[in-house]
Symmetry: C2
Subunit: 189 residues, 2 copies
């Protein structure tokens, strides 16, 4: 093992400390601390301008979303096909740009971070097992839980392919959940 | 540190072994071994249907590309604003789907892996400092280097924002390179 790897492992130790215990990510008042290292977690997938609402259109706005899982829970998913207690999933939204540098077609991600949402599993803390939190843009102040009456809870409960999460949009994990038969009975491809 | 973290670190040790020494990733005949763990490396960005060629159109084909960096080199980039010897960047192409499950608009990544390309820095091995390699779809056989006369070398040399790489399309790294003044003098936003 060389010097570069030792230095990297030291960083990993620091980065995973917070992800490994869900208690550590909550402030005493129940707010969620910003998951500072999520960009170094495991990437699940990205989408462009996705919408679950037939009527909703956002002309002039174009955004990518990138989804990350904390590495400890990701490795448990690979083994079991579902999410363990303490799982933290992060979705970030970034501006999408068409023309820039030498690109002429399609879209790439531009520098603007438009928001960060967290979906975290803690069955003692949340009645449905999972809680949603939203941070705005570059704001890293602790975030209050999104109230459980919000649409996101019911929609994930009803349509999430695995344990109220949208694994149907994460191709590498969908393959694992299918093989391990952990897909929700509600799930429709 | 709990059991989950110890198990994770053991995985990281295995995963980074190959990435830490560029010699280890090459077969004795100079072919590149498939970077088996790249999906657990650090995600840089994704794009949809990008093209650098004004004339090239691919009607009926829609693809995302996801770019990953080996974690050791990524951490060095954070410190220095450029890529160290041994860097391995991986770009994978995946099918893009519009309608599926509850999605009505935009695009998400579907299950099909269409190809994997690697850009790796080894100044003793490659005349221009970097080599390109391409793996097809799910094929993990060692890949031959793309000949240095191919367009990708000249285009990256001429247009890459940092050290012949397209950091202009990786928003979090572009910010670092700008701050550390490591942008190529050729680079035009």
């Amino acid at each position: 093992m060389n010097v570069r790897v030792v230095a990297y492992l030291a960083t990993v130790l620091l980065a995973t400390g917070a992800a490994a215990s869900s208690d550590a990510i909550f402030a005493p008042d129940g707010k969620l601390n910003f998951p500072a290292n999520y960009r170094e977690w495991v990437f699940l997938s990205s989408g462009l301008d996705m919408s679950y609402n037939k009527l909703l259109d956002m002309p002039g706005h174009s955004m990518f979303d990138n989804v990350f899982a904390d590495p400890v829970s990701y490795h448990e998913f690979l083994q079991t096909g579902t999410w363990p207690e303490g799982t933290i999933l992060v979705m970030e939204a970034r501006g999408a740009t068409g023309k820039g540098s030498i690109n002429h077609r399609g879209k790439f991600q531009s520098g603007d971070l438009m928001g960060v949402e967290v979906h975290t599993k803690d069955t003692r803390r949340f009645p449905g097992g999972w809680g949603f939190f939203a941070f705005g843009g570059e704001d890293t102040q602790p975030a209050q839980q999104i109230p459980t009456g919000a649409d996101c809870y019911a929609c994930h409960q009803q349509h999430g392919a695995v344990n109220t999460t949208f694994v149907q949009f994460y191709p590498t994990l969908l393959k694992i959940a299918t093989a391990k038969k952990t897909l929700s009975p509600n799930y429709q491809p």
